[in-house]
Amino acid sequence: MNSSNILHVLNLLTPEIVLCGLAFGVLLLDIIFFRSDSVEHRHEQLGCSVIIGLVMVFFIYALQYMDWQNTFVVGHGAFVASRLNTLFKMAVVGLALITVVIGFKTPYSTHVGEYYGLMLFSVLGMVFLISSEDLLMIFIALELISLTLYVLTAFQKGARRSVEGGLKYFIFGGFSAAFLLFGLSYIYGATGHTSLREIAGALQGDQLAKVPMKMLGIGILFTLVGLGFKIAAAPFHLWAPDAYEGAPTPVAAMIATGSKIASFVALTKLLLIGLPAAAGSALSWPTRWHSGWAGTVAIIAVLSMTIGNFAAIMQTNVKRLLAYSSVAHAGYILVAIVAIQASGVPAPSAAPAIYFYIIIYALTNIGAFGVVNAIGSKAGGDDFEHFTGMARRSPYLSLLMLIFMLSLAGIPPLAGFFGKFYLFAAAVQADPKNLGLLWLVAYAIAMSAVSLYYYLKLTKQMYVLPAKDPRRVTSNPAMNTSLGLIGLMVLLMGVFPNKVVERFENLNANPYPIWEAAVPPPPQPEIPVPAPAEKPAVPAPAAPAPKS
């Protein structure tokens, strides 16, 4: 590597470096200047610095997004800079920003600088996870996210449930890391590579005969177990309710949104870029079912939807309810991964539905956690009883919660409906002649109907039942504004979903060419842009917003 290449790489990594500097800055500021201040004061000052810093990082990403046309690969796929990745990084940084805002002025610990520092380290992990296409980097980034989140979950050290949630999260996470590493080692051993694209190359054509398939199969299975823990898919979800309930609400929001987005992006990349050749098929059980990861993922999806939705019905704590609902949502997203594989479109060009869904899921969920935090910190807890009659005590927050719940349930015209619509449409379209995935889609729709019950149960608690405690619940203006903005976005994405999906489709049209950044970038080559009409990955929306 000569010096100009290093400069090129550093240029690609600018936002990550700024983020890293921000994390160090917050830690140092706290130690050097604010040690003697009161906790509230430190919280305010450091929180504001973090917010400003994150906004800056967000805009650097936005600049990169507008600036780039190509994909850059550093170190055999350890860091891949593309517009699609940048969009996800913007989403993750935006979610972190919201997390900081909703956690503002609700100090859970006296270690303010470390709280923000660890949170930023976890965001760094997510950012690196999103941009990695290499098994080693995926493992390191996942562990960076996990370790910081274990600590943050237990951060409210004075509270029993916080440390208990942290320990449970850690033990399950430890199992997941061990399975993941073992699985990755087998995938590496079977193919001889760790870079996802090289793995895909090793599984192509006549190369395939040389690969020990049973070993690869076990590797994929173990990796799915490991990643299944991270995305909280059943039956690996047992930690989720305890960690969500125990963790300080902003941290729970981060586990449920940012870390989940990043893990899903990693899973999607691993399966669709690295291992498409080992997919098998999940079509029409049992006649066209072939062994491969598609069938396994379909089974995990069915289990997640079933267990998530039915267990959510029995919950009486809002955070636990959101935990089980996120298990169910992981199931829906896995349906889409199976669908994309079955559609046979080469890797990333069929994924807009899944990306749209992940973004909407994260946005809605962080809004819901924001409301839970706002109400919970004032009403003294986050059980259902604390939310009773909230419509009279805080009409604004209750309205927002209503929007988020209905969106999660998938009621039109909110964003959640179109997320599910695109997802299920993509699954039906995957095999349009025989409708091979219809069984999976039908099951997912039935489960969505079940989910309506518990979302409405919470809504009923807030709107129908009378309040026991007539005092009003208010929250600070910053929180109100940001939650309002999220609510507005959920509404708008429901009214104009095609705008967002088109954006993802455009991104997927030219994910290539790719070159090693170690080599100076060649002059802009001609990109053969596939005609979008050839094989639409996602059908045009059923005229949700007719353009006249």
């Binding site: 098994l135 080693l136 493992f139 390191i140 562990e143 370790l147 274990y150 600590v151 237990a154 050290k157 029993r160 449930r161 440390v163 208990e164 949630g165 942290g166 320990l167 449970k168 850690f170 033990i171 430890g174 199992f175 890391a177 061990a178 399975f179 590493l181 073992f182 990755l184 080692s185 087998y186 590496y188 051993g189 001889g192 590579h193 760790t194 309710p241 305890d242 309930e245 125990g246 267990a311 029995m314 919950q315 704590n317 636990r320």
Partner: protein, 101 residues
């Protein structure tokens, strides 16, 4: 000469022993020990693959990073155990169950 299969069988057995330990023991510290054992079993795989596959530094590097991460994980886990012990005066998994559902 031991072959690649020999090393893989060895690591498979070590992984299973670690898993059994982590699943059957109640002491969270010993559960942690079991997890370390599972991670190390994966390291044997990585190094063995590195040795037997066509030359590339990948496997060894992977194992090196895995050791570092396993160390960080053990430290975090022990710190969590200490934090939990302060509340429950116990490190037994069964005693630590306030949250349920």
């Amino acid at each position: 000469m031991p072959t690649l299969s020999d090393y893989l069988v060895l690591s498979a057995i070590l992984f299973s022993i670690g898993l059994a330990g982590a699943l059957t023991r109640r002491n969270t510290i010993i559960i942690l020990v079991g997890l370390e054992m599972m991670l190390n079993a994966a390291n044997i795989n990585l190094v063995a693959f590195w040795h037997f596959l066509p030359p590339s530094p990948t496997g060894q590097m992977f194992a090196l990073f895995a050791i570092a991460i396993a160390g960080a994980e053990a430290a975090t886990g022990l710190a969590l155990v200490i934090a939990v012990y302060r509340h429950y005066r116990s490190v037994n998994a069964e005693d630590i169950s306030n949250l349920k559902g």
